[in-house]
Structures are given as structure tokens and as C-alpha cells.
Symmetry: C2
Subunit: 491 residues, 2 copies
């Protein structure tokens, strides 16, 4: 199963693609740019969804569902939004097919042309704010804190499994507030929720920051983001939270009667993460032996493999293992006992290693005699022999320490891969020879950012929220700058 | 909130529509035929999803995700499937918009025409079986037990919230098996899962049966269904499970190497339920006072309303209520304490009655003195005074008895509304004056079924799985029949 599998140093991009396909996470479909998320990949996504959904509900949000189609004219209502989203998209023009008069297959029925084309949603601000107009009349209707789990389509020319696909799954929060302050607080709160999820569930450290105007969401006043660093030194935007000001309320005429009995436009936020997080998760931790999953998102956290020669031995092992499995399940651990006779233990070891199961227990006749079990952890590939006494709590401790270790390892990596550059030469040298995040001064203009991107393919990932004021000179233009921003080449 | 609300006897159809909208379950969107599922409606759907998903997983299924788009040519591969599904559907023909050269808005970019049109999935058999071809090589790859939660689009001309919408949410199971027997067993197993869910969660009794050929799924060898009866005497198909034979395996060339080393076509099933179940749930139990929800699917099972004059009284009530809420939550009951000062108790009583909250507790100063609480149950609208001692277990018992009572009430209704007809006159008389299910003999031909439908709008809902052999004569043609089938007018 792990044959013909590129290593990271040979070809990082190939390694990623091989891993996604061979570990049964996803594959390309018959439809250009659209992926099939396979059961093992989807099981990880379900764990992500469950954790995020709980966080959204704990912060007062409710779920709803809005139509997949958006009338074309809606996109024209918000001036900058149309530029950003209404271009590369799937356009529905007809609502019927008919038998080909020539008798071969089916063709579009030209009599069934829509009066107005429908766009398959690339994001739902427009249809949602068109709906909110009827839901919001008074300050008593605010805040409105709604999230949607949905599929969206953006017609990407170059696609990569999970990282960039024409159709992807995501959640999009859309909230409405009476004041600017409240909307900004919501934008920042949800950025915090995303950062907490990335760090404590995905074990991926992230930097919270603001996007530069060039990278801002089309229609936003301010875009907040979390940025992660992958093992090849490239950045990956893992989530965004937008303060939309009154832009969509004005475009769709959403006003409320304030406590002071005045009509005011509503303030908005939107925020989203997608199946792209799967790409981040895979690239952040996995190695040349296959997938590495943090315990909190692993569909199977512990696998137990019996090692036996006779069926009597298997019976004995199974008897020993049964109460351990039950206890672990009671404690909330997802555990799998693989006693299939069609595969040998060595094959199973490889399989679970490749699939990233955090902890593997192997138990054979000698273990039965000694009251022991062999415990392998996927993150370090270390093996130890544990006494069976209180094994369940030992395993829970081990899962916790794997979770922490993966985060610490990724954090150490990021710190080693974060550099400062004070000149153009230094900047280019780091980009080409080391990669990673580069803290550098920038004169604050979109033109300079654009020029740097054209020359180096590096973009401003974010202006960190915790950036300290520091006087300096722009690495490209030498013009004054008051703080460093983070540059990187990015996914 | 419940003003201008039609009663069932005045106008059942209007009553349903008013209820859906005024109870904040769903509304029509700006896109023809597509609905917005509002937070309260979506919360019920989430409870349905969670219960069903658990049942699917408990029966060995895993979730996955397949593309929303299906190449047009895929539909032509299975001869009867194309007739049933590839006609009224959303067709994507272009992948880009551009600014209108005349400067007004955006238009379709004719240079971005797809070589082959894409259909927004009306159901996913074709794309899934095209994918399974690569997943299934040997008997060791079988069975494949996969489910998908997704949105689908069927371009319906006449739509009704939840019951028939252009876009709807559903799950579709698609399984692959080595033998016909195994596939039939799976088809029947999943029908059983649906029936169990309908009866034990929705509190809606259903009849399990087989569809007649006219009503069979396009591409199926046999379609099993569960049929429910609504309060207006019309039937509603609540779920279907299809035995697809080798039709899709042949159409998409999916073969496996058997244990005997022979290439064989794979056997298939598919099964689905949708947001249509929301319509069934609403129509089965609700009354002229508003929504009635079975406790197992109610987002809020218990609401507690304080009745007070002074803020000291509110403090005392809140103190008394706090440990009750905590205990109920520990016991898994979803409980809401509505101490908002902006609304009066009477308004709140109406609100929760209208929204179908199964149990309402009201507690005032006199209750504090007496150690009592007023308990109202939504199903019967009865009020009682309970002693506070052990109130949590009393409430749990009450929730259980409401769940049972709703089922029993619906079952009694169905039994009263199930008739037998032995002549055409009797059949028409029952249809026009009573409605409900009619057990009648049918000669087994599609022509007769079609003629009955044309003359009366009644269709064969199903051939019940538990039908007893009984010699008789077809109500229309007088030709011999060996058992009764169920006729009804249906949603």
C-alpha cells in the first residue's frame, strides 16, 4: 500500500498527492476539479465538523440552510464582491434536457432557458443578506448569529486535492449586528475559535493577523486570518473571519429600527473554514512513512493487533483484550481490534502506520505470559513494552502526550523557519534557500506588495495582531514602515 | 405570532404553509423552488440527521462525499434511469461570467462554454458507480457500505416547503455486494432502519411495502418504501430503499473477481430519506394551536417560564429552578429557562405552544410556597400541578409518555382511516368522502394502475410486505388478484 510513495525531500508535492490518494483520503473524480472524499478522509472531516460545530454553538450560533443557487444579478449589487467572486463560477442556464432528436443520448432543451442565469454559490453573502432583509426589522432582532454547513463551487483552473478544488465543503458564518464594535468583536471572537481549533485539535500552530488590502475578501472592510506553516516552508491560510462593515446591508437594503427609533444599516461579519483544513492537517504532521494524525481528529485512535500462531492463542489474546477495549470505549477512546485472519500482523502494522493511527498495541503469547503489551506511537515511531495493569489510563496519557508533542514539534519547526529580513537581498535569499515565514518591513502600499509578489511569488500572509511597533524601511522601496509584516510563499 | 393562522378544517394546505412559515421552520427564497431552512427548522433536521447517522453507522455504514456535478453523458448509460432523472434538472453550461460590454452588470462569457454540460445531481447513482469501478476489484472489496449527506436538485414545477422543493437535503446510501441475496437483505435492512426511525423518533407509524412497477425508482429492480398517513387523509412516502440488481454495475462496468476467480457484475442498493421528512413530521402531529413535536426530535424539550411580579420573586424562582435545570441537563434533557423581561409569561406560553415545545413548566410565588410547579404538556394541552420533589424523573416520564401518546394517536388515526373497498363505487366513495388508505384488489397491470390514477388521482402506495394472500377481483377490471394493495391519494 505504501509502495511507490515519494518522500518529502524527493518531491514534496508528489509526496502530498501520493499520501492523499494512497491513504484513502480523497481522489479526483470524473468531473474536472471536483474531488471524491473517501470514507477515511470523510471520517476525519466529520471529527473536524463536530468539534467546530460545538464551538460555534457554545458561542451562541445556530445553523441554517440557504439555497445553493444565487441569481446572477445579486452579485452585481456589491461592487467589489462581484469582482472577486462572480467570475470563475458554475453557471446554470437551463432547467431541462431532452432526448436528442437524432436518437443519440440527451441534449439541452433550448426551450428551457432560464430568464436569469443562476450561479452555484461560491460563497453566500448575497443570498443570505437578501434573506436577512426580511428577518431584521428592529434592534430586538439583533444580533443574528447564523452558520451554514454547505458545499460551494469556485471554478479553479489548477486544482489540488483538498487544497484547491472546484467544489469544496465548508462552513460559513454570517452574523448581523447593531453596531460596528459588536461586529468587530464577533469577527475577532470567531478568529479566536478558529485559532483554538487549529492549535488544540489539529495541533497546528497558527499566527493570527490581518490581511493586507490586496489579500482582503471581496466586499470586506477588514479580513482577519490564521496562517499556518507547512513542512516545505510554504504558508497555508487556514481560516478567515471578515468584518464586512455595512457593505452588504447597503447593497441589500437591510436596515433596523434602533432603540432610539432611527433606521440604521446593519453591521455584518462572515467567517469560514473548509475542507482545505484537511490539506493543512495532512501536510503539517505526516512523514515519509505515511499519515500522522493528532489523536483528537483520528477516526481510530488506538488499534490492537493480535500476534498469534494457533487459534487457541487468538482466543486467549481476544479474552485478554476484550475488557481493555470496553474500558477504553467507556473512556471515550475510539479503538479498533483487528483480528482479521486474512492479513498478517506485519501487513497490519504497515497499514495502520500508513493511515496515521496514533497508538498501536500488539499483543502475543509472550505478552500474555508476562502481562505486557507492545505499544507503538505513530508520531515518534517509538515502541515500548507496557505492563497491562491500568493500561487504559496509560494509553489516555499517551494520546494526550502525542497530541501535545505534535503541536510542539510543529511549533518548533515554525519558529526555526521564521526569519527576519532587513534587505531585499536577504529577503530573496531566505525565500529561495530556506523558505518559511519572513518578518520584514513593508511601506504599506498595494503597489509594493504586488511588485514583491511578481518578483518573488511571496505575498503578505498577514499583519500579525501581536506585531510590535518598530520603525524600519520597506525591503523593496526603502520607504518608512512602522512594523514588520509576515511574508511567505503560500498555498 | 399565531394570528391569521388557518385551521386544519378550514384549509389544510394553508394551515400547513402558515405553520411552516410562522413557526420559523422554513420559507421560500429568492430562487424559484428553493427554500431557506430557518434555524428552528434546521435544528429539528439536525436531530433527525444525528439519529439516522447513528443508525447507519451502527449497521456498518460509513460516510463519504461525491461531486455535486454529474457529466451529462453519465445519465444516458442506464436506460431507465435517464428517463426518470435526466429531464427536469439544473444544467451548468458555462464556467465564467464577464462584465457586460455595455457596462451594465455581468453576463455569461460565451468563450467559457463547457465541452460537456454538467448536471447538478438529482441523485448520485451514476457518479458513484462510475467511482466504484475503481474501488471494487475483488470479493475482498465487498460489501461496500457507503452513505452520503448532500443537497440535490430536481427542477419541480410545483413546489411546497419541505414536501417538494427544487433543492432539498437528504442522505443517499449506495452499497455494493457480491450476491443478489446480500443486496436484497441490505435493501430490506435499511427499510427497517427507516421504519424504526419514523416510528420511534418521529412517532409516525408507517407501512412497509413494495412499490408497483409504475412507482418504482428509475433504474431499480425493486423499490421498497415506507408510507405514512397525514391528518388530511393523504399518504406521504417517507423513505425508499432500492434493490438495483446489476443495472448500474453493467452500465458502469463494475465487476469483481469472485472467490472462484470469476469476473462477476456487482449487485447494488440505494436508499434515501430527505428534508421531506420534516413535512411528514409537521403534518402528522401538529394542530390548530401550532406545531406539535415528539420529544425525541424537539430542539427544546422542556421550557421553564418564571411568573413573577417583583425582581425578588424572580431571584427566588431562579434559585429554585437552577438545580432542576442542571439535573435535567445531566439526564440528557434539553431545557430552556426563559427569564427574559421583555416578554410577559402569557406571550411566552403562546410562543412555546406554537413552536411545539413538548413540556412547559410555569413557576410562580405560590408554587414556591407550596413546593409545586405547573406542568403543561403540548400533545394534549393538559395542565397539572406537580410536587417539586423528584421533578426531574417525573419530567422524563412525561416526555416518554408524550412520545408514546403521539405515536399511538397517529396509529389510531391511521387505523380509523384504513378501509377496504370491494367495488369501484365503494372505492371512489371512500376516496372522495373519507380519504385515507384503501385496501383493494388490483389486477397487477401497470395499465390498470395508470387508469385508476387518471380517474381518481389515487395511486398504489405499496404492496404491503405483510399482505396476506387473498383471492379477489380487481376493483377496476374485475380480473383476478391474489392480495390487496394499498391505494391512496398522496403528497
Amino acid at each position: 500500500m505504501a509502495k511507490d510513495f515519494a518522500t518529502r525531500s524527493e518531491n514534496y508535492s508528489q509526496w502530498y498527492n501520493d499520501l492523499v490518494i494512497k491513504a484513502d483520503l480523497a481522489e479526483n473524480s470524473a468531473v474536472r476539479g471536483c474531488m471524491v472524499i473517501k470514507p477515511y478522509g470523510y471520517a476525519i472531516w466529520e471529527k473536524m465538523q463536530a468539534a467546530l460545530d460545538k464551538k460555534f454553538k457554545d458561542t451562541g450560533h445556530v445553523n441554517a440552510y440557504f439555497p445553493i443557487f444565487i441569481p446572477k444579478s445579486f452579485f452585481s449589487k456589491e461592487a467589489s464582491h462581484v469582482e472577486g467572486f462572480a467570475k470563475e463560477c458554475a453557471v446554470v442556464t437551463h432547467y431541462r434536457l431532452k432526448n436528442d432528436p437524432s436518437g443519440k443520448g440527451i441534449v439541452v432543451d433550448e426551450d428551457a432557458k432560464l430568464e436569469e442565469e443562476l450561479i452555484v454559490r461560491p460563497t453566500s453573502e448575497t443570498i443570505i443578506w437578501d434573506t436577512y432583509r426580511n428577518w431584521i426589522k428592529s434592534y430586538r432582532d439583533l444580533p443574528l448569529l447564523i452558520n451554514q454547513w454547505a458545499n460551494v463551487v469556485r471554478w479553479e483552473m489548477r486544482t489540488r486535492l483538498f487544497l484547491r478544488t472546484a467544489e469544496f465543503l465548508w462552513q460559513e458564518g454570517h452574523t448581523a449586528h447593531a453596531t460596528s464594535e459588536e461586529a468587530i468583536a464577533e469577527t475577532e471572537k470567531m478568529l479566536g475559535v478558529y485559532a483554538d481549533f487549529a492549535e488544540n485539535f489539529m495541533a497546528v500552530p497558527v499566527i493570527k493577523g490581518l490581511k493586507s488590502p490586496n489579500e482582503r475578501f471581496a466586499g470586506a472592510v477588514e479580513t482577519y486570518c490564521i496562517e499556518a506553516l507547512m513542512q516545505d516552508g510554504k504558508a497555508l491560510q487556514a481560516g478567515t473571519s471578515h468584518f464586512l462593515g455595512q457593505n452588504f446591508a447597503r447593497a441589500f437594503d437591510v436596515q433596523y429600527l434602533s432603540k432610539e427609533n432611527k433606521l440604521e444599516y446593519v453591521w455584518a461579519t462572515s467567517w469560514g473554514v473548509s475542507t482545505r483544513l484537511m490539506g493543512a492537517l495532512i501536510m503539517a504532521h505526516s512523514d515519509d512513512h505515511g499519515l500522522v494524525l493528532p489523536p483528537k481528529l483520528a477516526p481510530t485512535q488506538v488499534v490492537i493487533v493480535p500476534v498469534y500462531k494457533s487459534s487457541e492463542q487468538l482466543v486467549q489474546i481476544s479474552q485478554t483484550v476484550k475488557p481493555i477495549i470496553e474500558k477504553l470505549q467507556e473512556l471515550g477512546v475510539s479503538v479498533k481490534y483487528d483480528d482479521r485472519e486474512t492479513y498478517k500482523p506485519g501487513w497490519k502494522f504497515n497499514e495502520y502506520e500508513f493511515k496515521g493511527v496514533p497508538v498501536r498495541l500488539a499483543i502475543g503469547p509472550r505478552d500474555l505470559e508476562n502481562g505486557t503489551v507492545e505499544v507503538s506511537r505513530r508520531d515518534t515511531l517509538e515502541k515500548s513494552v507496557y505492563q497491562l495493569a491500568d493500561i487504559e489510563n496509560k494509553i489516555i496519557n499517551l494520546l494526550n502526550s502525542i497530541q501535545k508533542n505534535l503541536f510542539q514539534k510543529a511549533l518548533d519547526f515554525r519558529e526555526n523557519m521564521t526569519s527576519t529580513a532587513d534587505s531585499w537581498e536577504e529577503f530573496v535569499d531566505i525565500l529561495d534557500n530556506k523558505g518559511g515565514f519572513i518578518l520584514a518591513h513593508w511601506d504599506g502600499t498595494p503597489e509594493t506588495e504586488q511588485k514583491i509578489k511578481e518578483e518573488t511569488k511571496a505575498t503578505i500572509r498577514c499583519i500579525p495582531l501581536d506585531a510590535k511597533p518598530e520603525e524600519g524601511k520597506c525591503i523593496l522601496t526603502g520607504k518608512p514602515s512602522s512594523r514588520r509584516v509576515i511574508f511567505a510563499r503560500a498555498y
